[in-house]
Homo-oligomer: 291 residues x 2
């Protein structure tokens, strides 16, 4: 298998996600130039010093010049403005991809900016992260054995799709292709919903000062359950807003599920509760591996 | 400080919780005899072999003879039957304590069996556990730096209360005294509610075969959030039934909280969502230490 080397890859937003992508590409020599774009000169300087990128700038014309592929690794709320600023400098060969946690909203943003879905646009979503954030946490191995979802539009060309897939695979990721709609539905259920539920629980308990410092009585179970409530509020605000339809659907279903569970508890329906807990335990034990 | 050595301590139910208590008492020499009672001869044999207890039996008369303190470390559903079987053999000096996760229900069981709340009855709840269970997981250090809640009744004598507190403190625990009602309220909020929410989420997703193996798309956040859904269904059935009032109250409040959250998502109320997430993040970061 011959290695395809691109001339220039640009990463917009050199934080954990964009930085890890850039650093991996650079280490593997998959582009002659890995360029970082951002608005914070300190951060860009650091990105170059840490060898996350070869070069960096806050000038979009420079960032996009001769670029074969641009990765948008910015919050969902910044996607459309960034696309607007890319547009005047976009060259015909440039493939556009992204790392957004909700896919239809990015597709809508591209449609809004370009009036169409370009054949060189291939949305993506790497499922990776770690406790730390920012360029200092960038890790060329972040995506190894992690899932990356690609959601090509009906216009995405095979060549562009294969290029995007190939880069993630080269970084060690397990690439999976699905529709944006299915992606948004599934991740609303498995990621967005649990985050909102954890935020809600912590916030609700926080609103009960009469219990004293109620968190003092929490143990390991609560710590694990609520860990995701320490996630970045800006990111989760954006996800909630940009995948609101699917999230609201799941929140409503979950609320309805609780509506059915409450009388079981009130009426001490031991058998029904046992069955529910056992089904959940078996499903989790079968499918989720604790690490 | 002189060490008070009891003649005989009996542990009913030699699993992780009872076994760890017994093993710690035995190591510290806080009783001349640490006796284990249970119905499974294999388990009792193992408890003696592993030096968790000095002696063991399935004969309640033998277990309670000359006993200074008995710890009931059985599921909440077994408390009342065990108390019934203890009653005919109870000696005047025997202090009764327990390790149940809900306190009022144990107090009710004692009242039902004895027709009063004996002065030697001191309810307790050690907040500890680990992934493994059973006597083989018994660990004399399980309670070190863990919280143990004591909820004396209006009849509990000071001497009995101090004896129970002293033993837990000797095992390294941080002992805290509160009312049974406050205990049940606080643990319904911080432990029982999150467990039920996690069970509910996993079970709900499991009921969506049209999404394929939806768990395949979960990442670390979901793994952490749902870990407690792998808990013992029997134990959680009992907790749900024996603390049903407080749990139902919190489930309803949480359901109502979601009712208020759903329109924020539907209407993409970015500011309100941000504020909620930020409050939750700050509360968690301030109060919960990740380990």
């Amino acid at each position: 298998m011959t290695k395809t080397v691109l001339n220039k890859i640009t990463v917009i937003g050199v934080g954990l996600i964009g930085g890890s992508f850039a650093k991996g590409i650079k280490k593997l020599g998959l582009a002659k130039n890995v360029h970082g774009f951002g608005h914070n000169p300190e951060n860009l300087k650091l990105a170059v010093e840490l060898q996350v990128v070869d070069s960096a700038s806050s000038d979009m014309a420079e960032a996009m010049q001769g670029c074969d592929l641009v990765l948008l690794a910015v919050p969902l709320g910044a996607m459309q403005p960034v696309l607007e600023s890319i547009k005047p400098h976009l060259e015909p060969q440039t493939i556009i991809t992204d790392a957004g946690s909700a896919k239809q909203s990015v597709i809508d943003a591209v449609q809004n900016v370009f009036g169409e879905l370009p054949k060189n646009f291939v949305p993506g979503h790497p499922i990776a992260g770690k406790e730390q954030s920012g360029v200092t946490a960038a890790d060329e191995n972040l995506y190894v054995d992690h899932r990356v979802i690609i959601t090509p539009t009906e216009n995405s060309s095979e060549q562009a799709t294969e290029t995007v897939k190939g880069l993630w695979k080269a970084l060690g990721a397990n690439v999976e292709v699905m529709s944006a709609g299915f992606h948004d539905e599934v991740f609303a259920a498995t990621s967005h919903l649990p985050h909102l539920l954890a935020f809600a629980l912590v916030e609700m308990l926080h609103e009960h000062p009469e219990l004293g410092n109620v968190f003092k009585y929490t143990a390991g179970g609560f710590r694990d359950f609520s860990r995701i409530a320490s996630s970045d509020p800006t990111m989760w605000r954006d996800i909630s807003v940009f995948n609101s339809e699917a999230i609201a659907k799941w929140l409503i279903e979950y609320r309805d599920y609780l509506d059915q569970m409450i009388p079981l508890v009130q009426h001490k329906d031991a058998q029904a509760l046992y069955q529910l807990f056992e089904t959940a335990k078996n499903a989790r034990d079968e499918h989720i591996v604790n690490r």
